[in-house]
């Protein structure tokens, strides 16, 4: 693979303007001082308890996501472009979801094949014809973006269900400000700390009509054993709302209440971090104890807003992903600002044969997979793995898509052997309320810590960095 574009050094030794101060600072700072700060950061993370759980990993039920102290920096211009593209994309996602669960214009126009929707396990027939407050489905979106060269930001994935990671964006900044005050003094970094306020006002703005003037918002978690539990409690705390589990809620006369020390209290908006399947045992999985019996009928009666709405999975499905440019054009009659990664749909015969012929050069993903599981990274795979994937693809082609291996941009990162380039992506968080769409400047930068690795997922050992958007 060719040398990747580096966020700091471009394609060669041309130091990019946004990194000038950082570069100067790195030259002045002895390596052991950097190492000392790195250890300090790790201690802080552990003490604050910023951990995530890895399922099936009994050795370390709570793990730290490695934190890299070298920030990833973007200029104001770069951010402005990204922001515009993100807003456009999320607007289209919301229009698409409304359409899919109502008129289905896009299917009648033959932009997307019907069976991709109706045969899709994440499509929720329960949502057919159901109105959601203010027609907003995806209140919180986490859009994964990679960069291949100075001008090319590409969307890798639209996370429209319950995207996580925003607590790391906020905590990374806090810890950087604690450990590197001098570095901040040399930069004008746009603040991210208003995210909780923006989130709360977005959530309140989408309260159902039957809510009081001061709607009650709660955050619903599957509980302490969930991998993102830290984030759930962190956000509830920052928002100043109750962190509820299914057992704290009860539905009466199609209204949702929480059990409090003063009796039942009505809830109007639930920021739920529980998957569709587990929300209501009467509608979805009957064996689930995580949900609230009757929640869906309260939802149908219009007495509760769920954020994100039920059924949004259809919009972040990898099979639908390849149609996103068409979706943007269809609803907005605009050219998409953010590109897609070229994607071969293995369900289509022509694409499949191309993929089978070029497996060694491609990344193959399960349509419904996430977290970097069940992927084939052709160039890094053994012959045996490739052959195993070939069989899987032949057996169930509609379960897979394929993409070229992209040269994700790199960013200087602390490693055992000093600073070295490591591949990064970026997950900005897009908030949609009834009045406006907002994005705090920045997001979560994930970094693949292994040399050459392109997998940045935390469950696969990836780390995170603070993301700085410089002001003009």
């Amino acid at each position: 693979m060719a040398v990747a574009f580096d966020e700091m050094n471009g394609l060669g030794e041309d130091l990019r303007p946004a990194y000038q101060e950082l570069s100067r600072w790195l030259k002045e700072t002895p390596p052991d001082a950097l190492e000392y700060r790195r250890q300090e950061a790790e201690l802080l993370f552990r003490r604050i308890g910023i951990t995530f759980a890895v399922y099936g990993d009994t050795e370390a039920q709570e793990r730290l996501i490695p934190f890299d102290v070298i920030p990833r920096i973007m200029s104001a211009n770069e951010w402005t472009l990204l922001e515009k593209g993100l807003k456009q994309r999320v607007l289209a996602l919301n229009m698409f979801l409304k359409d899919i669960y109502h008129g289905r214009d896009i299917l009648r126009a033959n932009v997307i094949p019907e069976d991709l929707i109706f045969q899709n396990p994440v499509f929720r027939p329960e949502m057919n014809g159901q109105d959601v407050p203010h027609d907003i489905y995806v209140h919180i979106a986490g859009i994964d973006i990679i960069r291949t060269d100075p001008d090319n930001f590409i969307v890798l994935e639209d996370n429209a269900r319950t995207p996580s990671g925003v607590s790391y964006m906020l905590e990374n900044r806090e810890i950087m400000m604690r450990l590197f005050p001098d570095l901040f003094a040399r930069h004008r970094v746009a603040p991210v700390e208003r995210y909780p306020d923006e989130l709360l006002s977005a959530l309140r703005s989408v309260a159902p009509h039957s809510a009081s003037a001061e709607p009650t918002v709660a955050l619903m978690t599957p509980g302490v054993y969930n991998s993102a539990y830290y984030e759930h409690s962190f956000l509830a705390d920052k928002l100043g709302i109750e962190l509820v589990e299914g057992r704290d809620l009860i539905v009466k006369n199609d209204e949702v209440f929480m059990r409090t020390t003063e009796g039942l209290k009505r809830v109007d908006v639930i920021y739920r971090r529980v998957d569709d399947d587990f929300l209501d045992p009467l509608t979805f999985r009957p064996d689930s104890a995580l949900g609230v019996p009757g929640l869906m009928s309260a939802y149908a009666a219009g007495n509760i807003t769920l954020a994100n709405a039920v059924g949004t999975g259809i919009a972040d499905d990898k099979a639908i992903y390849s149609y996103m440019p068409d979706i943007v054009k269809f609803y907005l009659s605009e050219e998409p600002i953010l590109k897609n990664v070229q994607t071969w749909r293995c369900r289509e015969a022509q694409d499949l044969s191309y993929v089978l012929d070029n497996l060694a050069d491609l990344v193959v993903k399960e349509v419904h997979g996430s977290g970097g599981y069940g992927m084939l990274i052709g160039p890094a795979a053994t012959k045996a793995t490739i052959e195993a994937f070939r069989d899987k693809l032949k057996r169930e082609p509609e379960g897979f898509i394929a993409q070229p291996t992209l040269a994700l941009s790199t960013c200087p990162t602390c490693t055992d052997k000093g600073l070295a380039p490591r591949h990064v992506d970026l997950r900005p968080f897009v908030l949609t309320g009834s009045r406006q769409t907002t994005i705090v400047p920045g997001g979560l930068t994930r970094v693949a810590l292994k040399e050459g690795s392109l997998v940045v997922n935390s469950s696969q050992g990836g780390g995170t960095k603070d993301t700085w958007i410089l002001s003009e």
Partner: protein, 315 residues
């Protein structure tokens, strides 16, 4: 506040209080057993430590003999004992995680750091040396002091605080009552005549397990007398670990909740009933009635309060 949050706060406080109490019990027992046999006679202090911890029966499911090593292990580190210090700290940490939003960062930091230290340093009980044990016991007591102190200094005075205080005082009352119950035979007036060194050190151990040796002398300005020790631990409102003091606090905290919620209930009435009984009792009457019976009734009433609070607020 969510009922579950209140319940977690209540139990979190109880676990921390219980861990500290167990550490005190072990500490006091160690001191007695370190004395030459001539001073302490043949009683097995480790058995009585098990009894005050309320694990007398379950201990023998796992061990043959109640000696120092076995009892210390069972009370401190054993995973088989649901209320070992280790399990208390682990339960406290799990509860803390599920109510992080209701804790101040100082409280969380205390519990989380203690839990980390427990894993890192005390996972297998240290080296088993007496020095290590002393360090461990100090670590537990300091955790509890820090936790209490950070709650006192950083929590808003609202229902979250009051529910956690309810946990502290309910657990504390239970612990004090258990010590008295196990040692009640030493507090009987007729034993006054015995007055030998054996009694002296055993009485001291009672005071030591509630950190009240100095307090005793301040209050009574007398040599150790069993009925005065009983008076101090049961009726003296100025001693923070006395039953009377625990109930003053329980009544006050329940009243604060009642006022904030604009509603009183069975919990407030029940707690007031117990406090009034303590207020109007004299040691003479208690001895007449029987210390053991009095304490037994108290333990039952106290745990009944826990049930009532649970029903009224926590579920």
């Amino acid at each position: 506040m969510l009922s579950r949050t209140a319940e977690n706060l209540f139990w979190l406080a109880r676990y921390v209080e219980r861990a500290e109490y167990l550490a005190r019990t072990i500490d006091a027992t160690l001191r007695v057993t370190a004395l030459p046999a001539a001073y302490v006679g043949k009683t097995n202090e480790w058995d009585s430590a098990l009894l005050t911890a309320g694990v007398g029966a379950s201990f023998y499911d796992h061990y043959e003999e109640a000696n120092q090593q076995n009892v210390v292990e069972y009370l401190s580190f054993s995973s088989d004992n649901p209320s070992s210090i280790k399990n208390c700290i682990e339960a406290a940490r799990l509860n803390s995680r599920s109510v992080r939003t209701a804790l101040t960062s100082e409280m969380w930091d205390t519990i989380n750091s203690a839990w980390i230290e427990l894993q890192a340093v005390w996972g297998k009980g240290g080296t088993g040396s007496r020095e290590d044990l002393a360090k461990f016991l100090r670590f537990v007591q300091e955790t509890s002091l820090r936790f209490d102190g950070s709650a006192y200094r950083t929590m808003l005075r609202n229902d979250a605080y009051w529910f956690s205080r309810l946990g502290v005082h309910l657990e504390r009352a239970d612990n004090t009552a258990r010590i008295l119950d196990v040692k009640y035979h030493m507090l009987l007036p007729e034993e006054e005549h015995v007055g030998g060194p054996l009694d002296y050190y055993q009485w001291t151990s009672i005071l030591r397990s509630v950190s009240a040796t100095t307090a005793y002398h301040w209050v009574y300005r007398e040599t150790l007398k069993p009925w005065l020790i009983a008076d101090l631990l049961i009726l003296n409102d100025t001693l923070p670990r006395s039953l009377a003091s625990c109930y003053s606090n329980l009544v006050r905290n329940l009243d604060q909740i009642g006022v904030a919620y604009g509603r009183q209930g069975a919990a407030q009435r029940h707690a007031r009933g117990i406090r009034n009984r303590l207020e109007h009792s004299h040691m003479d009457d208690i001895f007449q009635h029987g210390v053991h019976e009095f304490i037994q009734e108290f333990i039952a009433d106290n745990s009944r309060l826990g049930e009532i609070v649970t029903k009224q607020y926590l579920i």
